[in-house]
């Protein structure tokens, strides 16, 4: 309980501002933005997923379904219906949120491993739909998504680089908003209600917490941010196809959330950075000359697995709570 009281009394706004500034400076120093952008997009998804998993005490293993919903909104709006790109960006989180409300209403009655498998099922069904529905590109996908802003720059290379920088900046803004919203949720009366859920649903229900409604609201909130991330994915890469959102990616989100620490404000971000950078290093190691081709995927999966198992066995609360309590113990020592 003490961890929660501490979070509430402590204002994270200076830290969030600092993160925003650092996140905006980094891309100016990088020669290539794609890896950084994937980290940012993952951080947007994982921050709110961590909130859902920490507070509902449930695993959502198919968050990619809502990322896909956001990306498909952009793809369908622009490529199929030729609507203005900004409209796609605005509607993507709304569509993802509505989709989450629709599937969450029956799905969130499930608990534990049933919900875990249920959420995977939703993701796999979304992938299957993307493979057969003509509106979603029927297997080929939606290609050639137009840029969000028509930049008046002649040189194609400069124009592309500037566009990618703009997408990175938007992603940073969305990430900051997700951190602020998460903080507000944690600090609110509603937040106290959903925290009670993680302890015992029966106890929370008897204390007057609307169990299904509360879970559904956090689930929808997480989907809204996942939808935002999906929209930015669609603009950045610029295509959407059934292979864009593999199940492994959704598991990766969960691994990142668990490693950082579920239900904490900074856990998602830290988990994304630690796991993302570790996997990148393993990937670089595997692509050194003289390394067998098979080593790449093998090292990547071993990286996921070993990190997840070690963290769950030896610091099951994740990095952030473990670090905070270690710091506190040191401080309280006379």
């Amino acid at each position: 309980m003490s961890a929660w009281t501490r979070i509430r009394s402590w204002s994270p706004y200076p830290e969030i501002a600092a993160v925003a500034i650092v996140a905006l400076v980094i891309p100016l120093l990088l020669p290539e933005l794609t890896f950084y952008m994937t980290l940012l997009l993952a951080a947007i998804v994982v921050t709110s997923l961590s909130l859902f998993m920490g507070y509902a005490g449930q695993a959502a293993l198919g968050q990619g379904a809502f990322v896909a919903a956001g990306a498909l909104t952009v793809g369908v709006f622009t490529v199929q219906w030729h609507l203005p790109p900004w409209l796609g960006l605005v509607c993507a989180p709304i569509v993802a949120g509505l989709f989450a409300a629709l599937v969450g209403w029956p799905l969130l009655r499930l608990r534990g491993h049933y919900l875990a498998f249920g959420t995977i099922a939703v993701l796999l069904l979304v992938q299957a739909l993307m493979g057969v529905v003509p509106l979603f590109g029927r297997g080929i996908g939606l290609n050639g998504i137009p840029p969000l802003i028509a930049l008046p720059i002649e040189d194609a290379q400069t124009r592309n680089a500037t566009l990618k920088l703009i997408y990175v900046v938007i992603a940073v803004v969305v990430l900051v908003v997700s951190l602020l919203v998460s903080h507000r949720v944690v600090a609110s009366r509603f937040g106290r209600g959903i925290r009670a859920l993680a302890g015992s649903e029966t106890a929370a229900a008897s204390a007057g917490v609307p169990v299904l409604g509360s879970k559904l609201r956090v689930f929808v909130l997480a989907a809204v941010f996942a939808g935002f991330a999906g929209a930015l994915t669609a603009f950045y890469f610029p295509f959407v196809n059934p292979e864009s959102f593999p199940a492994e990616q959704s598991f990766e989100y969960v691994i990142m959330a668990v490693v950082g620490g579920l239900g904490t404000l900074w856990g998602g971000l830290l988990g994304v950075v630690v796991v993302g950078v570790l996997l990148r290093l393993l990937n670089d190691l595997a692509s050194l000359p003289d390394m067998p081709a098979i080593l790449g995927p093998s090292l990547q999966y071993a990286g996921y697995g070993i990190v997840l198992v070690l963290v769950l066995l030896f610091m099951p609360k994740g990095l952030i709570p473990t670090i905070t309590s270690a710091v506190q113990r040191r401080r309280s020592r006379p």
Partner: protein, 286 residues
């Protein structure tokens, strides 16, 4: 009619494989309340190792047996890790299992490569059943599965270890009071889960190409079958597997398209949501 028989038989064969993987979920869940994500990985190990051994010159029978035993050992190892910390909540155990799926996948890719295992049928040839030409390999899956399920039932009802496991499943505290260790029973359950997964893999590898990446699909199909039995009844799991297999193959056969997995997913979702209250009560009780 001939066509119908063909689809029915291949559906039964597919369904039996689902049921075997699913029965592994059931055995582990009954005793430990853990859903072991790595259940599909055991089938991959069994199927790919059998193929590798037999193409390497090991005679039929020995190769399959060794592969099944190795899958059982993998089950024991997975169990030892998942149960290594007493008091781990099932939610955390599920995620540890997910981590172990990734580790198993990494090892499988290193050992077997990324391509599907070459098919080495246990029995050659084909037979006519009511005019439908069926390979023996597909056909033997059904009796073997029935024998395994009957053996499983006998094991839980008659053998000392099986009865001790059933006792732990229904009341871990009382079982401990009479000297039945939860951890020992849990490890036994995981080992049996590994063996069952290995048997499934050995049986389906010759007719369905299995690669290391088949783990997740196998786990999901097995879980779907196990959901029919509320993760606790082996016979309902068998029924569930057969329903999923036959419905999927009939849809595919009559040109609706290859939606075997999607059919399983939809039926699984429907059953879970309809039975949510009962399933949750069972979760809460543990």
């Amino acid at each position: 009619m001939t066509l119908f028989i063909t689809f029915l038989i291949s559906g039964l064969a597919v369904g039996c494989a689902y049921a075997l993987v699913g029965s592994g979920f059931v055995v582990v869940h009954r005793v430990t309340h853990v859903v072991n994500f790595a259940q599909g990985s055991f089938a991959v190990i069994g199927g790919m190792l059998a193929s590798r051994l037999i193409t390497g010159g090991v005679p039929h029978g020995v190769g399959e047996l060794v592969a099944i035993l190795v899958a059982g050992a993998a089950g024991l190892a997975v169990g030892a890790i998942i149960l290594s910390r007493p008091g781990t909540p099932p939610f955390v155990a599920l995620l540890i299992g997910l981590g172990l799926v990734f580790i198993a996948l990494a090892v499988n890719i290193l050992v077997f490569g990324q391509n599907p295992a070459p098919s080495v049928p246990i029995v050659q040839g084909a037979v006519d059943i009511l005019g439908a030409r069926t390979e023996w390999q597909r056909l033997i899956v059904v009796p073997v599965t029935l024998v395994v399920f009957a053996g499983l039932a006998l094991f839980f009802e008659r053998s000392d270890l099986g009865r001790a496991m059933t006792a732990t499943a229904s009341n871990p505290r009382a079982a401990r009071l009479v000297g039945i260790g939860y951890r020992r029973m849990g490890l036994a359950a995981f080992t049996i889960g590994g063996l069952l997964g290995g048997i499934a893999g050995v049986l389906i590898a010759p007719s369905q190409q299995i690669s290391p990446y088949a783990d997740m699909a196998l786990a999901i199909s097995g879980f779907s079958a196990a959901v029919f039995g509320g993760l606790s009844s082996p016979w309902l799991t068998l029924a569930g597997g057969l329903i999923l297999g036959v419905v999927g193959q009939l849809l595919q056969g009559y040109g609706v398209g290859s939606f075997q997995t999607q059919v399983s997913l939809l039926l699984m979702l429907a059953i879970m949501i309809i039975r949510a209250r009962a399933l949750n009560a069972q979760e809460e009780a543990k």
